[in-house]
Symmetry: C2
Subunit: 265 residues, 2 copies
């Protein structure tokens, strides 16, 4: 057994607002963080809503930034600041917020539920977000889409034909499992942040990127649970109000992009 | 504030061995789990070590599997079974094991360190493992490398020229940050599982896949901290014994593959 780490960081003050640091102008990975905060009605600030939001992000990811005594520098947004804690990586931020916002079981010695929720959220983020981005940038993020259009067509075709059914089928199976419990949710019969991730990644973003393909896929009737979950999240009063507000960023040149030539006809 | 989840899962028995369920024949993502268990000297079983290991993995990811009342079915290995808990997704398994094995701060109300370690591990897994895999499968995992060789050359060239320096430079900066503390480690002056991930993903796997490029990169002297961390992990007595044992799987047709035409000359 390795020795137990002795260095302890100080407890962060929890009497302050959450601060989301993310690019303005697209929903992106920051959107998952927003959905949790909005569903919970939490107070937060968002650099996407301020005039020099881009500058705030750049300051954090500047390659001269060495962080502080508690926090290493982040590599990329989204970044969450809460008191003296500064963390990055989407699933990590969700893990921090979920139990605090009542959207996941508390992390404790006698409840392992958080690892189930974290696992489901990671699966949704992994398979359907990173890969969706790769449909328009299969070769490199350093080149424009236009310079890798032919490779993108191949990648998108494979994504729609093979990857989407794999992930949709998987989550449909999770929704049918006993562990999902009653109601439309993935785990334990209650709304968790894994449901919010699935809403955004698996359905909403894809409906924007590949509208024709998603319409056909919904029409097959093979993924009724998944689309019911989508509707259930969309109908939550706070989410509904949020989606209609100007706090919701419009899809643009981010993870999900709508190029008609990459969609089905 | 959303209502607090009421469903609670039972506490898993912790008096049993860990069971790692992963493909035999390659280190892959299962390797991170092994490195934690080995460094901690924990008791575990590994399907890579048994005769019908492949069958054990397939049974878990069978698309008829609906899990049980506590656990939804997993999508893919690595999978960890511990008592009645069954979880998947590499960073999730590491999050579960890390604090238990003394390789991360305990998750508690007055210590946020786990979110720092989890964030660093996610960054290492994200940038250098998923992308490394894409260098030989940029278009689709559904085709052989030979069928996407030209695209692979473009992707590998970009990976070595742009992505490696970005991630290496980032971790070098983390190692220079005040939060890393004394000694060769990423965070808090002690060995955490983020160091083990970095060892495997960022250096060991890449040394196998792109030996020429890595030799040149080490020679620049720009990443002294990173290569010192690599050596420090490699020199840990239990890791050393493990790497020399037959419990360590050899590199093969996994994330890290050695195709000379994708390396530098």
């Amino acid at each position: 057994m390795a020795e137990t780490p002795s260095a302890k960081r100080q407890k962060s003050s929890k009497d302050v607002s959450y601060e989301l640091i993310y690019w303005p102008g697209l929903p992106g990975r920051g959107e998952h963080v927003r959905l949790l905060l909005e569903e919970a009605g939490a107070e937060y600030t968002d650099t996407a809503q301020i005039e020099d939001g881009v500058k705030s992000v750049l300051a954090q990811i500047d390659d001269k930034n060495l962080g502080d005594e508690h926090n290493p520098p982040p590599l990329a947004p989204p970044i969450l600041k809460h008191g003296d804690l500064l963390i990055s990586q989407t699933p990590n931020i969700l893990l921090y917020l979920g139990p605090r916002l009542g959207l996941a079981p508390k992390i404790s010695e006698d409840d392992d539920g958080i690892y189930i929720v974290n696992g489901l959220a990671l699966t949704a983020l992994d398979g359907l977000s990173n890969e969706a981005h790769d449909t328009h940038h299969p070769i490199t993020t350093g080149l424009y889409y236009e310079d890798q259009k032919e490779e993108s067509k191949l990648k998108a075709k494979d994504y729609i034909a093979n990857r989407l059914p794999k992930f949709f089928g998987y989550f449909e199976r999770v929704l049918k499992s006993r562990a999902s419990g009653e109601g439309p949710w993935l785990y334990g019969g209650y709304l968790t942040y894994a449901d919010l991730v699935l809403f955004q990644q698996c359905v909403d973003g894809l409906k924007f990127a590949f509208p024709n393909a998603l319409k056909r896929i919904e029409g097959t009737g093979d993924y009724k649970g998944l689309f019911a979950l989508y509707d259930a999240v969309k109908g939550r009063p706070k989410i509904k109000e949020y989606l209609a507000s100007d706090r919701r960023q419009k899809y643009s040149q981010g993870i999900y992009r709508h190029y008609p030539e990459l969609d089905e006809e």
